[in-house]
Symmetry: C2
Amino acid sequence: MGKGFEGLSVRHLLVLSVALNVGLFLKLAYEREVNFGTEQIFHGFCAEEEPHQREISLFSSSSMAANAEKASNYFHPSSWSASSIDELDDDGRIINLDQWNSGGPTASTQAGHISDDIYINHHDLTLNVSLPPPPRVGSNISGDPTMYERYWQQAGDKTTVVISGWQSMSYFSDVRNLCWFLEPEFAKEVIRLHNIVGNAITEGRHIVVGTGSTQLFQAALYALSSYGANEPISIVSATPYYSFYRQVVEYMKSGLYQWAGDASSFNEDKPYIELITSPNNPDGFMRQPIVNRTGGMLVHDFAYYWPQYTPITSPADHDIMLFTVSKSTGHAGMRIGWAVVKDEDVAKRMTKFIELNSIGVSKDSQLRAAKILQAVSDSSEHGGDVEEGRNFFEVNYHLIAERWNQLREAVKQSGLFSTPAFPAAFCNYSNRTFRTQPAFAWLKCEGKIDDCESFLRGHKILTRSGKHFGVSPQYVRISMLDRDSNYHLFIKRLRGMRYNLE
Amino acid sequence: MGKGFEGLSVRHLLVLSVALNVGLFLKLAYEREVNFGTEQIFHGFCAEEEPHQREISLFSSSSMAANAEKASNYFHPSSWSASSIDELDDDGRIINLDQWNSGGPTASTQAGHISDDIYINHHDLTLNVSLPPPPRVGSNISGDPTMYERYWQQAGDKTTVVISGWQSMSYFSDVRNLCWFLEPEFAKEVIRLHNIVGNAITEGRHIVVGTGSTQLFQAALYALSSYGANEPISIVSATPYYSFYRQVVEYMKSGLYQWAGDASSFNEDKPYIELITSPNNPDGFMRQPIVNRTGGMLVHDFAYYWPQYTPITSPADHDIMLFTVSKSTGHAGMRIGWAVVKDEDVAKRMTKFIELNSIGVSKDSQLRAAKILQAVSDSSEHGGDVEEGRNFFEVNYHLIAERWNQLREAVKQSGLFSTPAFPAAFCNYSNRTFRTQPAFAWLKCEGKIDDCESFLRGHKILTRSGKHFGVSPQYVRISMLDRDSNYHLFIKRLRGMRYNLE
C-alpha cells in the first residue's frame, strides 16, 4: 500500500511536470515567433540587396602582410585565399564601389549647388559607359557597413532587443538631463565603451544623442554659429574633405553659416568653424587643425577613431567630438550618433537644434544601440570575461587587415594604382603597433589615367571621384566595409585590370 | 519487485522532467530579461515623471454628456466618477498643462527670435509665482501622449517587437523605392490603416517616412521652396497656429523660406506656402486654406485627423499630407511620421532633405511602428476579426470623450472659462455623429482675467499662453493626452477655482 501510494503521487507529479514542459515550450515558441517574423523581413531585404551592391577596397603597405596572415587564421572560416578569389565566377555585373554615389542635390533641382553628380538608374543596372548614365534619385551614402553583419550574426541572441507596445511612448527620456531625449542606458554604455577603448575623454563632458552623427554635425554648427556675428560664420575643412559636409552646410542656405572651402587657404580675419575628421574621410590620415589662428572653433568627427581602423594613441580631448554607431559597430540603419561636448551651453544649444529638427531621437534605436554597445564592451574589455576569439575590435581589425592586404596585392598585380602609405603607431587599446587601415581606400590612378573614376567605370566599377572631395580626378574613394562577396569579386577584377590604349 | 521497479523509473522521469522545467524557465527568463530591462527604464522614468507633470482638459458642449456616460461604462475600470475625483488628495504640487512649456530658442541665445518664453527649473519645481520663474533648458513639446499607454499595456504581447543584433544594419531599406530608407513593411501598414479609417487617399501617392512629422514638415518646405525664386518663399498659417511651426521655420535662418505670419492677412503678390493643421492645434477646429489665390502651395498637417478626435468626413486628398504616430497611436518616443505625397518630384526632394538631414530614418522605429499600426488596423477593421471592446479608435474615442465631459462640468462649476463649440458631423469610420474632441483644449479666461496663463499659474497650473499662437493672452492651450492621474487632479482643482480680486 505504501509503495503503491508513493508510486501514484510520483506519477501525478510527473504528469504535472510534463504538462508544464509543454506549456513552457509553447511559450518559448511564441516568444521566438515574432523574432522569426522580423528576421524574414531582414533576409528578404538581403536577397534583394545582393545584385545591387558591389564594392572594392585597395591597400598598399606590405607591412600588413603578416597581420593579414594572422587575420586569415584568426577568423576562419571567413578567410579568402588568393586562389579562392580567382575561382570566383565573374558574371560581368557592375560593381558599385560607392553605393548610391551621387553628389547630393541634383543639378536640375538645386541651381548653384554641386552639379556634376554620378547617377545610376536604380531600375536598370546595365550601364553603357559610352553614354552618360541616366539620372536617378540620388543619395550620398558613404560606405554601407555591411561587413559587420557577420560578427553580429555570430554574436547570437545576446544583442537581441525586445520592445513591448507600451514602452518608450513618451517624448521624454530623462527630464532632469540637459539632453532630455537621451536615454540614460545609452549614455551609460557610451561612456563605458569610451573608457574601455580609451579613445575619448568623457569625464565632465555632456553627451548629446542624435539621429546619426550627421544630425549632430548640423547641431554643432547651429550651436557654434548662433553666438556669432551678423554674417554667416565660415565653415572650413582641409582637402580632401568629406564631400557630404559641404552639401549639409549648403542645402538649407542657412544664414547662420556658410561653406568657405579649404581650411589650408582660409586666411580671413573673422570667426570660423573648422571641421576635422580623423581618421579622415576619404584618405584615412589622422588630422590636426589646419587653420592656426584665434577666433576659430573646432568640430571633430571621430567616426573612424576606433581600434579596428587606427591605433588609439590617446583619448581624444576636444570641445565637440562626434561618433556614430554606423562606423563603430556597423549599425547604420539604426541612425544613432553621439557627441561628447565640453561646454554646457554648447550642449544645450545642440539639444535645442535636435528638438527643433526632430523633437529628439528615436528611443527604440537608443535602446538597441545601448544593447549593441554593451555587447561590444563586454566582448572587448581588458580583464573582463571575454569570450575567446570574440573581441569585437580584434575580430574586425583582422578582417579589415585581410582586406587591405588582398587589395594591396591586387594593386601590385595590376600596376595601375597607388594607395596612401600610413605611418605606424602604437595602439594603447590593442597593444600593437600598426598602420591605419581606414574604412575607405583612397586610390590614385597612376600613369596616363587622368580620370580614375571614368577609367574604373569602363571596367564596370563605380567609384567616387576625387573632385567631390576638392582634389584631382586622379583619385577615387572606395568603401572597405561592404559584404565579403562584393569585395572579393572586385579583388578578382582588379587583379586582371590593365590599361588599354584604344 | 515490479511495483518497486516501476516506481523507480517514474521517479527518474520526474527528475528529468523537473530538470527540463528548470531549464525552460531559465530560457524564458532570459528571453524576457531584456524586455524587463527596457521596462525598468520605462517605469523608472514614469516614477520620476509623476511629480513633474500635471495636466488639465476642459470641455463645453453638453451634447457629449450621453457619450461620456457610455464611455464611462465602456472602458471600465478606467472611469472616474465625479465623486472619486473629489476624493483625490491634492498635495498642492504644480500641474504642468503644457509639459516643458517653452517657446523654443531662449531669448539670450537667439536674438531676434521668439523672446518671451515660459521657463521652469527642471531641478526645482517649487514655483514662486510672484517672481519670474528661473530659466531652464527649454523644450517645446506639445502634448506628451501618455494617455495611450493604458491601451497598449492592455494590448499585451501582440505588439512586442524583437530585433536581433544583425538586423537592419544597412543604411538602405528598399533601394528600388523612391524613398530608399522607407521600410516596406511600414509603408504597407500605413496604407492599410488609411484604407481602414478612410482618412486619406493613398492610391497613386508616394509615402515618405520621417523622424516625426516635424522633420517631414521641414522636408516639405525644402521640397516646395527649392523650385522657388531668388528670394525666400513666404510661409503662412492662419492664427491661432501651432507655435512650433514658426520656430521650425526660423531657427536655421534659411534662405529658402521665411515666416510671413498670419495667412488671413497675407496679400502679397508672390509665391507662398500655406500650412494647414486640421483639426487645428491649438483650437481644434477643422481648417481650410485661407489664402485664396494662385501661386500658393499647401502643406496639410493631419496629425489629429483620426476618429478618436474628430469625425472622418472624407478621405483627405491634398498634395502633401503629414501624419505622425505621436498623435495617432501615442508613440511619441518612436519619432516616426509619414507624408502622403501626390507629386513624385516633391516626394524625391523630401527624400533628399531627409537624406541630407539625417541619412534616412531609424529602421528599428519603422519596424516597431509597422507592428503598432498593424495592431491598430487589426483591432479596428470593419468586418475583421476584432476583439470585443478593443477597437483602438473606439476605446480612445470614449476615453477622450469622458475627459472632455468631465472638464466641461468642471468649467461650468468654476464659471471662469469657456471652450470652443464644435460643429457636429457624421464620421464615416465609426458611423456616429459627434463633435470634434481635440487633443488640446483651447481655454479662454472670461470676465476680468486678461492673462489666462498668469491666472492659472497662480493656481500652480502651467499652461501655454495664446500669445504663442499669435492671439490674445486670454487664451491658453492645454493638452488632453496626459496620464489619468495628472488629468484628474487638475479636474479637481479646476472645480474649486474662483477668481479672487486681491
